[in-house]
């Protein structure tokens, strides 16, 4: 690190961003960054890598003025700055595109674009025409195609992202921070985004690119900084390192990136969904005659771009919403419209998509979160009182089995990192003797280590005779884990692949984007009786 600092001082002009010796301690006592250095050259695409909880987001939040460092200094274009708020950061030419888009869905693209810097007519009225003009001008200049008059809620994810990038550029950003920009994109959209990013780079813009995905990093970045456990693992030229080296630096050990699994031998049908239909509150048909089955001992994957009915489907199966038509049974018994307690009694477990909303009670302890579905069971109660020892022992076992990193089971869940929070959810959902596990985006936004663990666990459970329904927007994840796979597009099942082994991204992408659709008979084969 000392050499890096010395080298940096020798060629100060070269760097547009210098973060030196940054330490950040949060009010909950977590040291998210410890003496981290980040030096970004002008006009490069610089990757910031690390597992979740490694401190990437914290470091970027400080660069964008959302958090202040406990110690250390930030130098932008050779000038020492004190970034007290995003407004200050923007004025220094820093723009950030968040993982979760910060757009107003009910406003048009042009309106979103000028939010806070609205062009005015005679000082009072909003000059909408001017807003559209600005949008068009920037859109052309940077080759980022958007529709200025469309409402943000009607445009696809890929375009929303472009709106976000343009928003930053309109505000004069020269340094762009992209927080996991490809997490929600299809292969095709990702390819497009990369072209645009390279175009920006050629025009002298600097891009800091946060990602977990090694392939992308190799493809697009010039240099990379790796964080692990809040510390910097050094900066490297992308072309000088291999994927394996990077993942070792990130995780601190060799990671098996592909899951080993033997061929599935599915037996009886467990979940049977037939002709499920749902029209949402805005009149859009989100589920259109969806029928499929999941059998014991197999993992059925559902792939598709988000917003094509996957979320709605899961909501129906766990009675978080009511379908307009259709049936769903588990081992022959209806589960639609039952209270969640009854659904769970039939052996259905759910790893919810949004773990912070449904998966955990953040202010509760780890133990309290692990027993939420079984708090009434005989094993954990003694008369009217809880059997505290039994609770403590069973939770201790779960914490050990599921490698949940914590000081003790009495720690609050919200103090854990994303990956460990997900392990708490998974530990609970996998350990209640399920016959069917619905895993909705089980590894979204969590680190490589936890991802690997959860994937292995899913395969293990399915091979032990549990039916698994896996919904994931991560294409490589669904393809690798699933034994067979359906693709959802526009609320319909667009394709069914009985065997995932000969699939590739290209074929999948065509179905996911609605360019192709299998004939009805072929799709119907997913309905086992």
């Amino acid at each position: 690190m000392a050499e890096a600092r010395a080298a940096a001082e020798n060629s100060v002009e070269e760097y547009v961003v210098q973060m030196k010796g940054i330490t950040k301690v949060y009010p909950n006592g977590i040291a998210a960054n410890q003496d981290v250095d980040l030096f970004v050259k002008k006009g490069e695409i610089h990757a910031l890598m690390g597992e979740n909880g490694a401190g990437k987001s914290t470091l970027m939040k400080m660069l964008f003025g959302l958090e202040q460092p406990t110690s250390g200094e930030i130098i932008i274009n050779g000038e020492k700055v004190n970034l007290t708020s995003p407004t200050v950061a923007i004025s220094k030419g820093i723009g950030m595109v968040h993982q979760h888009f910060m757009l107003v869905p009910s406003l048009t693209v042009a309106e979103n674009m000028v939010l806070g810097i609205v062009p005015k007519k005679s000082g009072i009225f909003i000059d909408y025409k001017k807003a559209v003009e600005i949008t068009k001008e920037y859109s052309q200049r940077f080759n980022l195609h958007v529709e200025p008059d469309a409402k943000v809620m009607d445009i696809p994810v890929g375009m929303k992202q472009k709106v976000e990038i343009l928003k930053a550029l309109v505000r004069g950003a020269k340094i762009l921070i992209l927080d996991e920009p490809t997490a929600v994109l299809t292969t095709q959209e990702t390819t497009e985004l990369f072209k645009e990013l390279i175009h920006l780079k050629e025009q002298g813009y600097t891009i800091i690119f946060i990602s977990h995905k090694l392939n992308e990093i190799m493809e697009i970045t010039d240099r990379l900084t790796i964080l692990r456990g809040g510390k910097s693992m050094g900066v490297h030229n992308t072309r000088d390192v291999t994927k394996e080296e990077i993942s070792r630096l990130m995780v601190g050990r060799d990671v098996v990136l592909s899951v080993q699994k033997d061929v599935a031998k599915p037996t009886d049908t467990v979940l049977k969904v037939r002709d499920m239909e749902y029209v949402n509150e805005w009149g859009k048909k989100m589920l259109d005659k969806v029928s499929f089955s999941v059998r014991k001992g197999e993992i059925l994957g559902i792939a598709g771009v988000e917003g094509n009915g996957q979320k709605e489907l899961v909501d129906m199966l766990f009675n978080l919403n009511t379908p307009n038509a259709g049936t769903a049974t588990v081992n022959g018994e209806n589960i639609l419209g039952l209270p969640q307690r009854k659904i769970r009694e039939k052996g259905v477990s759910l790893v919810p998509e949004d773990r912070m909303v449904f998966g955990i009670a953040g202010d509760g302890t780890i133990e309290e979160n692990l027993i939420s579905d079984r708090c009434g069971s005989k094993d954990l109660n003694r008369g009217p009182l809880f059997n505290m020892n039994a609770i403590h022992d069973s939770c201790k076992k779960l914490i050990e089995d599921y490698l949940i990193l914590c000081k003790s089971g009495k720690q609050k869940v919200k103090m854990l990192s994303g990956g460990n929070i997900q392990k708490v959810v998974v530990a609970r959902e996998f350990s209640n003797d399920p016959v069917l596990i619905i895993a909705d985006q089980p590894t979204r936004g969590i680190d490589v280590g936890a991802t690997e663990f959860i994937r292995k666990k899913l395969v293990e459970l399915s091979r032990s005779g549990i039916a698994v329904l896996l919904i994931s927007a991560d294409l490589s994840e669904v393809m690798e884990l699933s034994d067979s796979l359906i693709v959802m597009y526009g609320g319909k099942i667009a394709a069914y692949f009985e065997d995932t082994r000969e699939l590739n991204d290209e074929i999948m992408g065509e179905y996911m984007l609605g360019l192709k659709r299998q004939p009805e008979e072929q799709v119907r084969r997913v309905c086992h009786e």
């Binding site: 759910l350 909303v357 309290e368 708090c375």
Partner: protein, 381 residues
């Protein structure tokens, strides 16, 4: 942050809140104190402060003032119960403000049972208080069911309900139940079998209700932290969606929280009525429910801390009464002083910089320890 530091922080923070509040109080007392010269005013202020701070416990001669102490403990009886009730309801994230009307209803029903339902000594008083508690529990069904069935705001509903209860009782007293031979609106005297026996005989009205209150603190703490129902109440309070998804009967548990909160408030009202008075003569809301809300907030919704918060408020009340009696300081000052203290207690960011410094220090120590142990381990190997 380690345990020791967080305790130190809590203490420093509490003390700082009280000191600031006292500084404000001193200023106000000084302004309102009587006296011609500055010296006289200062002396009067000092006298008033002495009454406020140590008057409630110590005689001017220096000995412990047991009469005042038992007055304070007696004053805690109803507010411990309302405080517990509010704790239970707030833990479910249900902002039921009905403990006020609940205490009134509990007191009224207990009083009526004490007059019109003669029973044997021993069980009569228990019966009266239970009836008061049940009545108040039933009353809380109104906001609870409206909330769970129709989505009516429990806060608005329960707040209004207080006045409905108060005026219905006023009407009953005026029209049907008052002792017409008396000059004011009051009931016939309670049967002697219905009175809560006194704990001490010094006229302070410290009854066995105090012991019952402490027993209930333990029971409610056990209920909230050691049973599945209390657990469900707390989880629903933290994240209702999570509780539903986990398979808890969310609506049922919410109703339970309201009803249990009501039962506690009603019990507090009943014990207060039968422990302190001989006839029912309340004509407005007693204020115990509002105090209960303050207590629950000070106690952070943890039943164990309720008696301490209750003691604190009773002490402050007593001190202000003494100030008013002996030093001519207006009784309204207590509200200002209390408001100051709560303001700083409730202000989450109060002293947050100091806290952050402690946090940084702890974390750095922890990291150093970890680094040292790693190095140590390596050299051993």
């Amino acid at each position: 942050m380690n345990r020791k530091r967080s305790i130190v922080f809590s203490l420093v923070r509490g003390l700082a809140a009280i000191l600031i509040a006292l500084a404000v109080a001193t200023l106000l007392i000084f302004i309102s104190s009587e006296g011609e010269s500055l010296a006289e005013k200062l002396a009067a202020t000092g006298d008033a402060l002495r009454q406020l701070l140590i008057g409630p416990l110590f005689r001017s001669s220096g000995g412990l003032n047991t009469k005042n102490l038992s007055d304070i403990l007696a004053a805690m009886i109803p507010t411990i119960f309302t405080g517990l009730g509010v704790c239970v309801m707030f833990s479910a994230n249900e902002f039921n403000m009905g403990a006020e009307g609940g205490a009134l209803l509990g007191a009224f029903v207990a009083a009526m049972c004490a007059i019109y339902v003669p029973m044997a000594a021993g069980i009569h008083v228990v019966f009266c208080i239970l009836m008061g508690a049940v009545a108040c529990g039933l009353m809380m069904l109104i906001p609870a069911l409206l909330k769970t069935r129709l989505g009516v705001s429990e806060m608005v509903c329960s707040l209004m309900l207080n006045y409905v209860v108060m005026y219905v009782i006023s009407y009953l007293m005026n029209a049907h139940l008052s002792d017409k031979s008396k000059g004011q609106i009051q009931s016939y005297p309670f049967e002697s079998t219905a009175q809560v026996p006194q704990l001490v005989d010094n006229g302070s009205k410290l009854s066995w209700g105090f012991v019952v209150a402490i027993v209930f603190v333990v029971l409610i703490a056990l209920f909230m932290y050691r049973t599945r129902w209390g657990y469900a109440i707390r989880m629903i309070g933290i994240n209702k969606d999570f509780a539903m998804y986990s398979g808890m009967k969310v609506a049922g548990v919410i109703v339970l929280a309201h009803v249990l909160g009501g039962v506690l408030a009603g019990m507090g009202g009943g014990l207060e009525m039968l422990g302190r008075y001989e006839t029912y003569a309340w004509r407005s809301l007693p204020g115990y429910g509002w105090t209960g809300i303050t207590i629950a907030i000070l106690a952070g919704n943890n039943p164990i801390f309720v008696p301490f918060a209750s003691f604190f408020i009773a002490y402050l009340d007593k001190g202000c009464n003494l100030m008013a009696t002996y030093c001519g300081v207006p009784n309204q000052l207590i509200d200002i002083i209390q408001a100051c203290i709560f303001l700083f207690f409730a202000a989450e960011q109060f002293l947050s910089r100091y806290r952050q410094r402690l946090v940084v220090k702890s974390t750095q120590e922890e990291l150093r320890l970890k680094a040292a142990s790693v190095e140590g381990g390596e050299s051993n190997a």
